[in-house]
């Protein structure tokens, strides 16, 4: 290279090699520093333990005559055990689970195609979106009298209430998922000669599906919160009905056992959706390491 590039790698380093600087001791509460996985899990468990201790202390602090209004965690668990082994509680749990899943999947079966069409075709969106956005502000519980008149104290009434509780939010969330699909994916398919149908089903839906699954996971949690409302009024079976009956006899341990059951089932549902997402969309797994 006519000496234009001179290799200077052989030149000696003249600066003295300094000792590595002493760093201050690691501090758990440094800003924006992540904690290790095990530390994180440990802290999570600690949160639960702290809650149970506060609960137990609250129970001890309550005067004996009113301790039944704040049973201890152990009493609640034993109430749950009695419910399960002697009161046919599993049947009620099954009824509640059936109501949640049937109404929720019916709502999905309507809202997914609807939101997909709204997201892909501006006229459909313009036609339906104001109506659906407004409907979101209607409190689901306000439909109870109407549904009782229409369907009576039946399962249909409860399914309809749970359906109405989630459908409008589902449409709004899934519409958002559909509209978030990267426009270039659609344009790339267009330039390859894909037809409208192939783009709506084969590109937009495929691209949005993990996000749709997340929306479903979040909305079924809301479905669980409507369950008790649905089963408080005119219900003979289901977790909510068991809790209402216990309330009439001031059996707070059973009410709390009901709350605990719904909490556990909610967590399990969440895990179920996450697992489904993991196996349905292997292409969307977060890279680890």
């Amino acid at each position: 290279m006519n000496g234009a590039v001179q290799n200077v790698a052989h030149l000696p380093i003249t600066a003295e090699v300094a000792q590595p600087p002493k760093r201050p001791a690691r501090h758990l509460f440094r800003l924006w520093r992540p904690v290790k996985g095990t530390t994180s899990a440990l802290l999570g468990c600690l949160g639960f333990v702290a809650f149970l201790i506060v609960w137990q202390l609250g129970h001890y602090q309550t005067p004996i005559e009113s301790q039944r209004f704040l049973p201890s965690p152990l009493q609640v668990i034993s109430a749950l055990y009695v419910l399960l082994t002697q009161k046919g509680y599993l049947g009620d749990v099954a009824v509640s689970l059936g109501r949640i899943f049937i109404s929720f999947f019916a709502a999905c079966a309507v809202s997914i195609p609807l939101a997909l069409l709204m997201g892909c075709f501006a006229p459909v969106r313009a036609f339906l979106n104001p109506l659906i956005s407004a409907a979101r502000y209607l409190p689901a519980a306000s439909f109870i009298p109407l549904l009782l008149v229409w369907f009576g104290p039946t399962d249909t009434q409860k399914l309809a209430l749970l359906f109405l509780g989630v459908i409008f939010f589902l449409v709004a969330l899934i519409l958002d998922n559909v509209e978030s699909v990267q426009k270039e994916l659609i344009e790339a398919a267009l330039t390859m000669g894909a037809k409208r149908r192939q783009i709506v089903g084969g590109v937009v839906f495929r691209a949005a599906s993990p996000a749709i699954m997340d929306s479903m996971r979040n909305m079924i949690a809301v479905g669980w919160s409507y369950l008790v409302i649905a089963e408080i009024v005119a219900a003979q079976d289901g977790i909510g009905a068991v809790m209402m009956r216990a309330g009439r006899f001031l059996k707070v341990d059973i009410i709390m056992a009901g709350i605990l059951t719904i909490g556990i089932l909610g967590v399990l549902t969440d895990i179920l959706f996450r697992l489904a997402s993991y196996y349905l969309f292997p292409w969307n797994r977060k890279r680890t390491g």
Binding site: Q182, E184, L185, E187, A188, L190, T191, M192, G193, A194, Q198, V203, R206, A207, S209, F281, P282, W283, N284, R285, R287
Partner: protein, 272 residues
Amino acid sequence: MTAAAHALAQHAVTEEAVIEAAGVTKQYNGGKFTAVDNVSLVFPKGQVTAFVGPSGCGKTTMLRMVAGLEDPTSGMISAYGAPVLGPGPDRGMIFQAYTSFPWLTALQNVEYGMKLLGIPDGERRSRALKLLDEVHLRDFANHYPSELSGGMKQRVAIARTLAQNPKVLLMDEPFGALDAQVRWEMQEMMIDIFEQERKTVIAVTHDIQEAIYLADRIVFFTCNPGRIKKDILLEFKQGKRFGRKEDMLLLPGYVETERQLFAWMREEIKKQ
């Protein structure tokens, strides 16, 4: 130099024209903003053209109109004498954003466009594998895009486009999101592909060196409204393309060309 370049450009036009744009104008907001103003261009078969110019000068809009993703407000674009009415697989497009479908493996991505064309299974598979070879991704055939680097994702998109055997290859800043080393590797790979496939290519780029290296001809855009400032053939390359970028740098005329393009760019930026 510019006069001579124009004479050569005129000569090239007499060959078979693949894409013709006649008086193309694109306006937005009901005529308030003119992105492309009365542009006429002819793209001869086998020529690699780069659209160069400052941002917002209608380069990408012009390319998208050739692709059929946008309609001209007035004027006409035709491909092989027939008017362009929409996008189609005869004009393959490569985008700056990664467009390999994340739910398909690299191999399935490359097969996607061929599936749309109705190419039978066996032929599709073997052609897809051959193309993955060409873009150096044979070992990653069964990987999803989420497992690939940015440059690899872009190579999947390139192979997918080539798989449909488009007569025209449109590239909208295809390497804009890549780091310098990957960009350079991709440019050299594109030269190999241009040589093998003999495509008519239109590429939009901000990168002056990239334009000089890849293109046979540079169309320089000017802003507000988007018009053609200069249209030159890179005659210093004597019709050659170089597999190794550094082989081009010592050619007489290279430095002058690059200097000229930087001067035009500076003129345009000063005007803003």
